[in-house]
Protein backbone atom coordinates (compact mmCIF):
# COMPACT_ATOMS: atom_id res chain seq x y z
CA UNK A 1 0.00 0.00 0.00
CA UNK A 2 2.63 2.56 1.04
CA UNK A 3 4.82 1.27 -1.74
CA UNK A 4 2.01 1.79 -4.27
CA UNK A 5 1.67 5.35 -3.08
CA UNK A 6 5.34 5.98 -3.69
CA UNK A 7 5.00 4.69 -7.24
CA UNK A 8 3.01 7.83 -8.02
CA UNK A 9 6.34 9.67 -7.91
CA UNK A 10 7.68 7.73 -10.89
CA UNK A 11 6.37 9.90 -13.77
CA UNK A 12 7.51 13.18 -12.19
CA UNK A 13 10.94 11.82 -11.27
CA UNK A 14 11.41 10.29 -14.73
CA UNK A 15 10.44 13.57 -16.36
CA UNK A 16 12.80 15.62 -14.17
CA UNK A 17 15.63 13.15 -14.76
CA UNK A 18 15.18 12.76 -18.52
CA UNK A 19 14.48 16.37 -19.46
CA UNK A 20 16.43 18.18 -16.76
CA UNK A 21 19.02 16.32 -14.68
CA UNK A 22 20.49 14.16 -17.46
CA UNK A 23 20.65 17.04 -19.99
CA UNK A 24 22.32 19.33 -17.45
CA UNK A 25 24.79 16.58 -16.54
CA UNK A 26 25.39 16.16 -20.25
CA UNK A 27 26.24 19.85 -20.55
CA UNK A 28 28.90 19.33 -17.88
CA UNK A 29 30.42 16.30 -19.60
CA UNK A 30 30.29 18.06 -22.94
CA UNK A 31 32.29 20.95 -21.46
CA UNK A 32 35.16 18.76 -20.25
CA UNK A 33 35.12 15.91 -22.80
CA UNK A 34 34.73 17.82 -26.11
CA UNK A 35 36.73 17.00 -28.11
CA UNK A 36 38.67 15.07 -25.44
CA UNK A 37 39.10 15.35 -21.69
CA UNK A 38 40.61 18.75 -20.92
CA UNK A 39 39.87 22.02 -19.20
CA UNK A 40 40.79 23.91 -22.38
CA UNK A 41 37.37 25.53 -22.70
CA UNK A 42 37.66 26.96 -19.19
CA UNK A 43 41.23 28.13 -19.82
CA UNK A 44 40.04 29.86 -22.96
CA UNK A 45 37.26 31.57 -21.04
CA UNK A 46 39.38 32.73 -18.14
CA UNK A 47 42.34 33.86 -20.23
CA UNK A 48 40.63 36.30 -22.60
CA UNK A 49 39.82 39.81 -21.51
CA UNK A 50 36.74 40.00 -23.74
CA UNK A 51 35.15 36.93 -22.10
CA UNK A 52 36.09 38.05 -18.62
CA UNK A 53 34.47 41.41 -19.20
CA UNK A 54 31.23 39.65 -20.23
CA UNK A 55 31.50 37.60 -17.03
CA UNK A 56 32.08 40.68 -14.87
CA UNK A 57 29.26 42.47 -16.68
CA UNK A 58 26.85 39.60 -15.96
CA UNK A 59 27.65 39.66 -12.24
CA UNK A 60 27.49 43.46 -12.03
CA UNK A 61 24.21 43.78 -13.97
CA UNK A 62 22.56 40.96 -11.98
CA UNK A 63 23.62 42.38 -8.61
CA UNK A 64 22.65 45.92 -9.63
CA UNK A 65 19.25 44.91 -11.02
CA UNK A 66 18.54 42.90 -7.85
CA UNK A 67 19.58 45.88 -5.68
CA UNK A 68 17.50 48.41 -7.66
CA UNK A 69 14.50 46.07 -7.44
CA UNK A 70 15.04 45.83 -3.68
CA UNK A 71 15.32 49.60 -3.26
CA UNK A 72 12.09 50.16 -5.21
CA UNK A 73 10.19 46.98 -4.33
CA UNK A 74 10.66 46.99 -0.53
CA UNK A 75 8.98 50.40 -0.04
CA UNK A 76 6.20 49.36 -2.46
CA UNK A 77 5.54 46.20 -0.41
CA UNK A 78 5.69 48.30 2.77
CA UNK A 79 3.07 50.64 1.33
CA UNK A 80 0.72 47.75 0.54
CA UNK A 81 1.13 46.23 4.01
CA UNK A 82 0.31 49.62 5.56
CA UNK A 83 -3.05 49.76 3.78
CA UNK A 84 -6.36 48.51 5.24
CA UNK A 85 -6.64 44.73 4.81
CA UNK A 86 -9.56 45.05 2.38
CA UNK A 87 -7.58 47.11 -0.08
CA UNK A 88 -4.39 45.00 -0.09
CA UNK A 89 -5.39 42.25 -2.56
CA UNK A 90 -6.28 44.83 -5.21
CA UNK A 91 -2.97 46.68 -4.81
CA UNK A 92 -1.03 43.42 -4.93
CA UNK A 93 -3.00 42.45 -8.02
CA UNK A 94 -1.95 45.72 -9.71
CA UNK A 95 1.69 44.90 -9.09
CA UNK A 96 1.27 41.31 -10.30
CA UNK A 97 -0.56 41.92 -13.58
CA UNK A 98 2.57 43.00 -15.51
CA UNK A 99 4.20 39.72 -14.48
CA UNK A 100 1.74 37.88 -16.69
CA UNK A 101 3.01 39.56 -19.83
CA UNK A 102 5.60 37.60 -21.73
CA UNK A 103 9.16 38.88 -21.29
CA UNK A 104 9.44 39.15 -25.07
CA UNK A 105 6.36 41.34 -25.22
CA UNK A 106 7.59 43.62 -22.46
CA UNK A 107 11.00 43.95 -24.08
CA UNK A 108 9.29 44.76 -27.37
CA UNK A 109 7.32 47.46 -25.58
CA UNK A 110 10.54 49.04 -24.31
CA UNK A 111 11.93 48.95 -27.84
CA UNK A 112 8.89 50.93 -28.95
CA UNK A 113 9.13 53.32 -26.02
CA UNK A 114 12.86 54.01 -26.16
CA UNK A 115 13.45 54.02 -29.92
CA UNK A 116 14.60 57.07 -31.89
CA UNK A 117 11.01 57.68 -32.97
CA UNK A 118 9.69 56.41 -29.64
CA UNK A 119 7.49 58.09 -27.08
CA UNK A 120 10.21 59.26 -24.74
CA UNK A 121 12.04 61.02 -27.54
CA UNK A 122 8.77 62.36 -28.92
CA UNK A 123 7.83 63.79 -25.53
CA UNK A 124 11.27 65.32 -24.95
CA UNK A 125 11.23 67.04 -28.33
CA UNK A 126 7.65 68.18 -27.92
CA UNK A 127 8.59 69.74 -24.58
CA UNK A 128 11.52 71.39 -26.34
CA UNK A 129 14.05 69.76 -24.00
CA UNK A 130 16.08 68.38 -26.90
CA UNK A 131 16.27 69.13 -30.60
CA UNK A 132 17.86 65.87 -31.67
CA UNK A 133 16.45 62.48 -30.64
CA UNK A 134 18.53 61.01 -27.81
CA UNK A 135 20.07 57.58 -28.15
CA UNK A 136 18.15 55.58 -25.56
CA UNK A 137 17.96 52.22 -27.30
CA UNK A 138 20.96 49.90 -27.42
CA UNK A 139 22.33 51.36 -24.19
CA UNK A 140 23.13 49.91 -20.78
CA UNK A 141 20.47 52.19 -19.31
CA UNK A 142 17.81 50.58 -21.51
CA UNK A 143 18.88 47.12 -20.28
CA UNK A 144 18.49 48.22 -16.65
CA UNK A 145 15.11 49.87 -17.19
CA UNK A 146 13.68 46.83 -19.00
CA UNK A 147 15.12 44.27 -16.57
CA UNK A 148 13.89 46.15 -13.50
CA UNK A 149 10.44 46.51 -15.03
CA UNK A 150 10.33 42.78 -15.76
CA UNK A 151 11.60 41.59 -12.36
CA UNK A 152 10.24 44.20 -9.93
CA UNK A 153 6.86 42.47 -9.29
CA UNK A 154 8.70 39.39 -7.98
CA UNK A 155 10.53 41.53 -5.41
CA UNK A 156 7.32 43.23 -4.25
CA UNK A 157 5.53 39.90 -3.81
CA UNK A 158 8.44 38.29 -1.95
CA UNK A 159 8.83 41.24 0.43
CA UNK A 160 5.07 41.49 0.87
CA UNK A 161 4.62 37.86 1.87
CA UNK A 162 7.48 38.15 4.39
CA UNK A 163 5.95 41.33 5.82
CA UNK A 164 2.48 39.83 6.29
CA UNK A 165 4.03 37.09 8.45
CA UNK A 166 5.25 39.69 10.95
CA UNK A 167 3.06 39.89 14.02
CA UNK A 168 1.82 43.52 14.11
CA UNK A 169 1.61 43.15 17.89
CA UNK A 170 5.42 43.20 18.05
CA UNK A 171 5.61 46.65 16.45
CA UNK A 172 2.79 47.86 18.71
CA UNK A 173 4.64 46.49 21.74
CA UNK A 174 7.74 48.44 20.75
CA UNK A 175 5.64 51.60 20.43
CA UNK A 176 4.00 51.01 23.83
CA UNK A 177 7.44 50.60 25.35
CA UNK A 178 8.28 54.09 24.12
CA UNK A 179 9.97 53.56 20.76
CA UNK A 180 9.38 56.24 18.13
CA UNK A 181 7.63 55.03 14.95
CA UNK A 182 10.98 55.08 13.17
CA UNK A 183 12.79 53.23 15.95
CA UNK A 184 9.99 50.62 16.08
CA UNK A 185 10.37 50.13 12.34
CA UNK A 186 14.16 49.98 12.38
CA UNK A 187 14.56 47.77 15.45
CA UNK A 188 11.57 45.43 15.05
CA UNK A 189 9.94 45.47 11.62
CA UNK A 190 13.03 45.88 9.44
CA UNK A 191 15.05 42.98 10.89
CA UNK A 192 12.01 40.69 10.73
CA UNK A 193 11.32 41.56 7.10
CA UNK A 194 14.96 41.28 6.08
CA UNK A 195 14.72 37.58 5.35
CA UNK A 196 12.09 38.26 2.70
CA UNK A 197 14.28 41.01 1.27
CA UNK A 198 17.28 38.69 1.04
CA UNK A 199 15.15 35.98 -0.59
CA UNK A 200 13.79 38.50 -3.11
CA UNK A 201 17.28 39.77 -3.89
CA UNK A 202 18.55 36.22 -4.40
CA UNK A 203 15.66 35.19 -6.65
CA UNK A 204 16.11 38.25 -8.86
CA UNK A 205 19.87 37.74 -8.94
CA UNK A 206 19.38 34.12 -10.11
CA UNK A 207 16.88 35.13 -12.79
CA UNK A 208 19.06 38.01 -14.02
CA UNK A 209 22.10 35.77 -14.38
CA UNK A 210 20.23 33.75 -17.02
CA UNK A 211 18.82 36.73 -18.96
CA UNK A 212 19.54 37.04 -22.63
CA UNK A 213 16.42 38.40 -24.35
CA UNK A 214 16.63 41.90 -22.90
CA UNK A 215 20.35 42.54 -23.51
CA UNK A 216 20.06 41.09 -27.02
CA UNK A 217 17.15 43.31 -28.00
CA UNK A 218 17.64 46.63 -26.18
CA UNK A 219 21.31 46.50 -25.16
CA UNK A 220 24.34 47.67 -27.05
CA UNK A 221 27.37 45.63 -28.07
CA UNK A 222 28.95 46.02 -24.65
CA UNK A 223 25.87 44.82 -22.79
CA UNK A 224 26.31 41.17 -23.72
CA UNK A 225 25.66 38.78 -20.82
CA UNK A 226 26.74 35.16 -20.31
CA UNK A 227 23.30 34.00 -21.50
CA UNK A 228 23.83 35.78 -24.82
CA UNK A 229 27.27 34.22 -25.18
CA UNK A 230 25.81 30.75 -24.64
CA UNK A 231 23.12 31.36 -27.26
CA UNK A 232 25.73 32.66 -29.72
CA UNK A 233 28.05 29.70 -29.13
CA UNK A 234 25.19 27.27 -29.69
CA UNK A 235 24.44 29.13 -32.93
CA UNK A 236 28.03 28.38 -33.99
CA UNK A 237 27.76 24.73 -32.85
CA UNK A 238 30.49 25.13 -30.19
CA UNK A 239 28.84 22.78 -27.68
CA UNK A 240 31.95 22.33 -25.58
CA UNK A 241 32.58 26.02 -25.05
CA UNK A 242 28.84 26.70 -24.58
CA UNK A 243 28.85 23.97 -21.92
CA UNK A 244 31.82 25.54 -20.15
CA UNK A 245 30.00 28.90 -20.14
CA UNK A 246 26.90 27.19 -18.71
CA UNK A 247 28.99 25.69 -15.89
CA UNK A 248 30.60 29.05 -15.13
CA UNK A 249 27.11 30.61 -15.01
CA UNK A 250 25.63 27.92 -12.78
CA UNK A 251 28.57 27.62 -10.39
CA UNK A 252 28.95 31.40 -10.00
CA UNK A 253 25.26 31.73 -9.22
CA UNK A 254 25.39 29.00 -6.60
CA UNK A 255 28.61 30.28 -5.00
CA UNK A 256 27.35 33.86 -4.85
CA UNK A 257 24.03 32.86 -3.34
CA UNK A 258 25.89 30.76 -0.78
CA UNK A 259 27.92 33.84 0.15
CA UNK A 260 24.79 36.00 0.39
CA UNK A 261 23.17 33.43 2.71
CA UNK A 262 26.31 33.23 4.80
CA UNK A 263 26.64 37.00 5.19
CA UNK A 264 22.91 37.53 5.65
CA UNK A 265 22.70 34.68 8.17
CA UNK A 266 24.76 36.70 10.61
CA UNK A 267 22.33 39.59 10.54
CA UNK A 268 19.02 37.79 10.25
CA UNK A 269 16.63 36.77 12.94
CA UNK A 270 15.26 33.43 12.05
CA UNK A 271 11.77 33.49 13.53
CA UNK A 272 11.17 29.83 12.70
CA UNK A 273 14.19 28.64 14.60
CA UNK A 274 13.67 30.92 17.58
Amino acid sequence: MRFAHRLTLVPAVLLALAMFAVPVAFVFSEAVFTPEFSLAHFERFFSRAAYLSVYRNTLVVSAAVASICLAVGYPMALFIVGQPAGRRPLLLFLVLVPLWMSILVRTYAWMVVLGREGIVNGALQWLGLTDEPLTLMFTTGAVYVAMVQILLPIMVVTCYSAMTEIDPGLVRAARVCGASPFAAFRKVFLPLSLEGAVTGWSVIFILSMGFFIVPALVGGRRDVLLGNMIVNQVGQANWGFAGALAIVLLVSTIVLLGLVRLVAGRFLYSPREA
Binding site: A4, P23, M101, L104, M111, L249
Partner: protein, 262 residues
Protein backbone atom coordinates in the same frame (compact mmCIF):
# COMPACT_ATOMS: atom_id res chain seq x y z
CA UNK B 1 -6.57 59.32 9.61
CA UNK B 2 -3.90 61.30 7.84
CA UNK B 3 -3.86 60.76 4.12
CA UNK B 4 -0.28 60.02 3.27
CA UNK B 5 -0.05 61.73 -0.06
CA UNK B 6 3.63 61.32 -0.84
CA UNK B 7 3.84 57.53 -0.32
CA UNK B 8 0.63 57.07 -2.30
CA UNK B 9 2.01 59.11 -5.18
CA UNK B 10 5.30 57.21 -5.15
CA UNK B 11 3.47 53.88 -5.12
CA UNK B 12 1.29 55.02 -8.03
CA UNK B 13 4.46 55.99 -9.91
CA UNK B 14 5.85 52.50 -9.33
CA UNK B 15 2.66 50.89 -10.64
CA UNK B 16 2.67 53.25 -13.63
CA UNK B 17 6.24 52.18 -14.41
CA UNK B 18 5.16 48.53 -14.31
CA UNK B 19 2.21 49.19 -16.61
CA UNK B 20 4.03 51.63 -18.89
CA UNK B 21 4.95 49.16 -21.66
CA UNK B 22 1.46 47.75 -22.09
CA UNK B 23 -0.14 51.20 -21.84
CA UNK B 24 1.96 52.11 -24.88
CA UNK B 25 1.70 48.88 -26.86
CA UNK B 26 -2.07 48.44 -26.58
CA UNK B 27 -3.00 51.76 -28.27
CA UNK B 28 -0.30 51.29 -30.91
CA UNK B 29 -1.78 47.97 -31.94
CA UNK B 30 -4.88 49.85 -33.10
CA UNK B 31 -2.80 52.17 -35.25
CA UNK B 32 -3.80 52.43 -38.89
CA UNK B 33 -0.36 53.73 -39.92
CA UNK B 34 2.11 51.90 -42.02
CA UNK B 35 4.99 52.56 -39.57
CA UNK B 36 5.35 52.68 -35.82
CA UNK B 37 4.92 56.14 -34.40
CA UNK B 38 3.33 57.50 -31.27
CA UNK B 39 0.67 58.69 -31.08
CA UNK B 40 -0.73 56.95 -34.19
CA UNK B 41 -2.05 59.27 -36.90
CA UNK B 42 -4.94 57.02 -37.84
CA UNK B 43 -6.72 54.10 -36.21
CA UNK B 44 -7.78 50.69 -37.43
CA UNK B 45 -7.48 46.95 -37.05
CA UNK B 46 -4.86 46.62 -39.82
CA UNK B 47 -2.32 44.83 -37.62
CA UNK B 48 -4.85 42.42 -36.17
CA UNK B 49 -5.90 41.59 -39.74
CA UNK B 50 -2.26 41.15 -40.67
CA UNK B 51 -1.81 38.72 -37.78
CA UNK B 52 -4.95 36.67 -38.29
CA UNK B 53 -4.41 36.34 -42.04
CA UNK B 54 -0.70 35.42 -42.01
CA UNK B 55 -0.27 31.61 -42.23
CA UNK B 56 3.24 31.79 -40.72
CA UNK B 57 2.10 33.64 -37.59
CA UNK B 58 -0.96 31.42 -37.26
CA UNK B 59 1.03 28.20 -37.65
CA UNK B 60 3.41 29.39 -34.93
CA UNK B 61 0.48 30.29 -32.67
CA UNK B 62 -1.20 26.89 -33.11
CA UNK B 63 2.08 25.09 -32.52
CA UNK B 64 2.59 27.01 -29.28
CA UNK B 65 -0.96 26.34 -28.11
CA UNK B 66 -0.60 22.64 -28.91
CA UNK B 67 2.75 22.25 -27.16
CA UNK B 68 1.70 24.35 -24.15
CA UNK B 69 -1.56 22.42 -23.65
CA UNK B 70 0.14 19.03 -23.69
CA UNK B 71 3.18 20.20 -21.71
CA UNK B 72 0.80 21.71 -19.15
CA UNK B 73 -1.18 18.47 -18.92
CA UNK B 74 1.92 16.30 -18.55
CA UNK B 75 3.39 18.60 -15.89
CA UNK B 76 0.10 18.83 -13.99
CA UNK B 77 -0.65 15.09 -13.98
CA UNK B 78 2.85 13.91 -13.12
CA UNK B 79 3.38 16.79 -10.66
CA UNK B 80 0.11 16.17 -8.80
CA UNK B 81 0.80 12.44 -8.56
CA UNK B 82 4.32 13.35 -7.44
CA UNK B 83 3.06 15.55 -4.61
CA UNK B 84 1.07 12.60 -3.23
CA UNK B 85 4.10 10.33 -3.48
CA UNK B 86 6.41 12.91 -1.88
CA UNK B 87 4.26 13.11 1.23
CA UNK B 88 4.70 9.35 1.76
CA UNK B 89 8.42 9.30 1.22
CA UNK B 90 10.73 8.74 4.21
CA UNK B 91 12.04 12.07 5.44
CA UNK B 92 15.66 11.53 4.36
CA UNK B 93 14.59 10.88 0.77
CA UNK B 94 12.04 13.63 0.61
CA UNK B 95 14.40 16.60 0.57
CA UNK B 96 16.46 15.18 -2.28
CA UNK B 97 13.52 14.23 -4.48
CA UNK B 98 11.77 17.56 -3.82
CA UNK B 99 15.02 19.29 -4.77
CA UNK B 100 15.17 17.38 -8.05
CA UNK B 101 11.57 18.29 -8.93
CA UNK B 102 12.01 21.98 -8.00
CA UNK B 103 15.51 22.52 -9.44
CA UNK B 104 14.38 23.37 -13.00
CA UNK B 105 12.91 26.59 -11.60
CA UNK B 106 16.33 27.73 -10.38
CA UNK B 107 18.64 26.61 -13.17
CA UNK B 108 18.52 29.11 -16.06
CA UNK B 109 16.50 27.81 -19.01
CA UNK B 110 19.40 28.48 -21.33
CA UNK B 111 21.39 25.73 -19.58
CA UNK B 112 18.50 23.25 -19.74
CA UNK B 113 18.01 24.22 -23.38
CA UNK B 114 21.65 23.53 -24.20
CA UNK B 115 21.53 20.12 -22.53
CA UNK B 116 18.24 19.06 -24.09
CA UNK B 117 19.42 20.21 -27.51
CA UNK B 118 22.78 18.46 -27.42
CA UNK B 119 21.13 15.29 -26.14
CA UNK B 120 18.37 15.49 -28.76
CA UNK B 121 21.05 15.82 -31.46
CA UNK B 122 22.47 12.46 -30.36
CA UNK B 123 19.07 10.78 -30.53
CA UNK B 124 18.01 12.56 -33.71
CA UNK B 125 14.99 13.97 -31.91
CA UNK B 126 15.47 17.67 -32.68
CA UNK B 127 12.76 19.61 -34.51
CA UNK B 128 10.20 17.46 -32.71
CA UNK B 129 7.17 18.81 -30.89
CA UNK B 130 7.26 15.77 -28.59
CA UNK B 131 10.77 16.61 -27.33
CA UNK B 132 9.86 20.27 -26.86
CA UNK B 133 6.68 19.33 -25.04
CA UNK B 134 8.50 17.06 -22.58
CA UNK B 135 11.22 19.66 -21.95
CA UNK B 136 8.55 22.28 -21.29
CA UNK B 137 6.73 19.86 -18.99
CA UNK B 138 9.94 19.44 -16.97
CA UNK B 139 10.39 23.21 -16.48
CA UNK B 140 6.68 23.56 -15.62
CA UNK B 141 6.90 20.77 -13.02
CA UNK B 142 8.33 22.93 -10.18
CA UNK B 143 5.33 25.27 -10.32
CA UNK B 144 2.89 22.36 -10.16
CA UNK B 145 4.75 20.80 -7.23
CA UNK B 146 4.77 24.16 -5.39
CA UNK B 147 1.11 25.07 -6.04
CA UNK B 148 -0.49 21.64 -5.60
CA UNK B 149 1.95 20.79 -2.79
CA UNK B 150 0.88 23.87 -0.80
CA UNK B 151 -2.80 22.93 -1.17
CA UNK B 152 -2.15 19.24 -0.42
CA UNK B 153 -0.42 20.02 2.88
CA UNK B 154 -3.62 21.78 3.98
CA UNK B 155 -5.96 18.93 3.12
CA UNK B 156 -7.27 16.75 5.90
CA UNK B 157 -5.74 13.24 5.63
CA UNK B 158 -8.51 11.79 7.82
CA UNK B 159 -10.96 12.29 4.91
CA UNK B 160 -9.12 9.74 2.82
CA UNK B 161 -8.79 7.41 5.79
CA UNK B 162 -12.53 7.74 6.47
CA UNK B 163 -13.26 6.80 2.86
CA UNK B 164 -11.05 3.73 3.28
CA UNK B 165 -12.81 2.75 6.51
CA UNK B 166 -16.13 2.93 4.68
CA UNK B 167 -14.80 0.40 2.18
CA UNK B 168 -13.42 2.45 -0.72
CA UNK B 169 -10.35 1.03 -2.44
CA UNK B 170 -7.18 3.15 -2.26
CA UNK B 171 -7.67 4.67 -5.74
CA UNK B 172 -11.34 5.38 -5.17
CA UNK B 173 -10.63 6.89 -1.75
CA UNK B 174 -7.97 9.12 -3.29
CA UNK B 175 -10.20 10.15 -6.20
CA UNK B 176 -13.35 10.86 -4.17
CA UNK B 177 -11.88 12.24 -0.91
CA UNK B 178 -8.53 13.85 -1.69
CA UNK B 179 -8.83 15.16 -5.24
CA UNK B 180 -11.99 17.33 -5.02
CA UNK B 181 -10.59 19.83 -2.48
CA UNK B 182 -7.39 20.01 -4.58
CA UNK B 183 -9.20 20.70 -7.86
CA UNK B 184 -8.82 24.51 -7.87
CA UNK B 185 -5.09 24.22 -7.08
CA UNK B 186 -4.67 21.61 -9.83
CA UNK B 187 -6.39 23.86 -12.36
CA UNK B 188 -4.29 26.84 -11.26
CA UNK B 189 -1.15 24.71 -11.59
CA UNK B 190 -2.16 23.69 -15.10
CA UNK B 191 -2.62 27.32 -16.15
CA UNK B 192 0.81 28.25 -14.73
CA UNK B 193 2.49 25.29 -16.43
CA UNK B 194 0.70 26.16 -19.67
CA UNK B 195 2.13 29.68 -19.65
CA UNK B 196 5.61 28.53 -18.67
CA UNK B 197 5.58 26.62 -21.96
CA UNK B 198 3.65 29.19 -24.00
CA UNK B 199 6.19 31.89 -23.09
CA UNK B 200 9.36 29.83 -23.30
CA UNK B 201 11.82 30.97 -25.94
CA UNK B 202 15.27 29.49 -25.63
CA UNK B 203 14.54 25.73 -25.58
CA UNK B 204 12.27 26.11 -28.60
CA UNK B 205 14.84 28.33 -30.30
CA UNK B 206 17.59 25.70 -30.03
CA UNK B 207 15.44 22.67 -30.62
CA UNK B 208 12.89 23.59 -33.23
CA UNK B 209 14.82 24.63 -36.33
CA UNK B 210 12.25 25.39 -39.02
CA UNK B 211 9.06 24.84 -37.03
CA UNK B 212 8.85 28.05 -35.02
CA UNK B 213 6.72 28.48 -31.89
CA UNK B 214 5.13 31.87 -31.26
CA UNK B 215 7.95 33.21 -29.04
CA UNK B 216 10.54 32.04 -31.58
CA UNK B 217 8.59 33.73 -34.39
CA UNK B 218 8.43 36.99 -32.38
CA UNK B 219 12.14 36.72 -31.53
CA UNK B 220 13.18 36.16 -35.14
CA UNK B 221 10.96 39.04 -36.23
CA UNK B 222 12.19 41.47 -33.55
CA UNK B 223 15.83 41.01 -34.39
CA UNK B 224 15.38 42.44 -37.85
CA UNK B 225 12.62 45.00 -37.64
CA UNK B 226 10.14 46.40 -35.18
CA UNK B 227 6.94 45.24 -36.80
CA UNK B 228 3.60 46.64 -35.56
CA UNK B 229 2.05 43.18 -36.04
CA UNK B 230 3.80 42.27 -32.81
CA UNK B 231 1.93 45.07 -31.03
CA UNK B 232 -1.35 43.44 -32.10
CA UNK B 233 -0.23 39.94 -31.11
CA UNK B 234 1.11 41.22 -27.80
CA UNK B 235 -2.10 43.04 -26.92
CA UNK B 236 -4.20 40.06 -27.91
CA UNK B 237 -2.15 37.70 -25.75
CA UNK B 238 -1.82 40.10 -22.84
CA UNK B 239 -5.61 40.17 -22.63
CA UNK B 240 -5.88 36.37 -22.93
CA UNK B 241 -3.06 35.83 -20.43
CA UNK B 242 -4.42 38.35 -17.94
CA UNK B 243 -7.81 36.64 -18.01
CA UNK B 244 -6.36 33.14 -17.62
CA UNK B 245 -3.85 34.10 -14.93
CA UNK B 246 -6.46 36.16 -13.11
CA UNK B 247 -8.58 33.02 -13.00
CA UNK B 248 -5.65 30.87 -11.87
CA UNK B 249 -4.70 33.31 -9.12
CA UNK B 250 -8.32 33.60 -7.89
CA UNK B 251 -8.62 29.80 -7.80
CA UNK B 252 -5.32 29.43 -5.98
CA UNK B 253 -6.17 32.03 -3.36
CA UNK B 254 -9.67 30.62 -2.86
CA UNK B 255 -8.30 27.07 -2.56
CA UNK B 256 -5.82 28.00 0.16
CA UNK B 257 -8.21 30.32 1.97
CA UNK B 258 -11.11 27.87 2.14
CA UNK B 259 -8.95 25.09 3.47
CA UNK B 260 -7.19 27.46 5.84
CA UNK B 261 -10.52 28.24 7.51
CA UNK B 262 -11.77 24.69 7.88
Amino acid sequence: MRTRLVPTLLFALGVLFLFFPILIVAPMSFSGDRFLGFPPKSWGLVWYEAYFSDPVWLAATWRSLRVATLAGLIATLSGTAGVVGLARLPRRWRAGVTGLLLAPAIVPNVIVALGVFVLALRFGSTDSEATLMLAHAAIGLPFVVMIVGAAYRQTDPTLEKAARVFGAGPLRAFWTATVPPLAPAILAAFIFAFFVSFDELVIALFLMGGSETLPVRIWNDLRFEINPTIAAISTFFVVVTALAMGLAETLRIRATRRQGNS
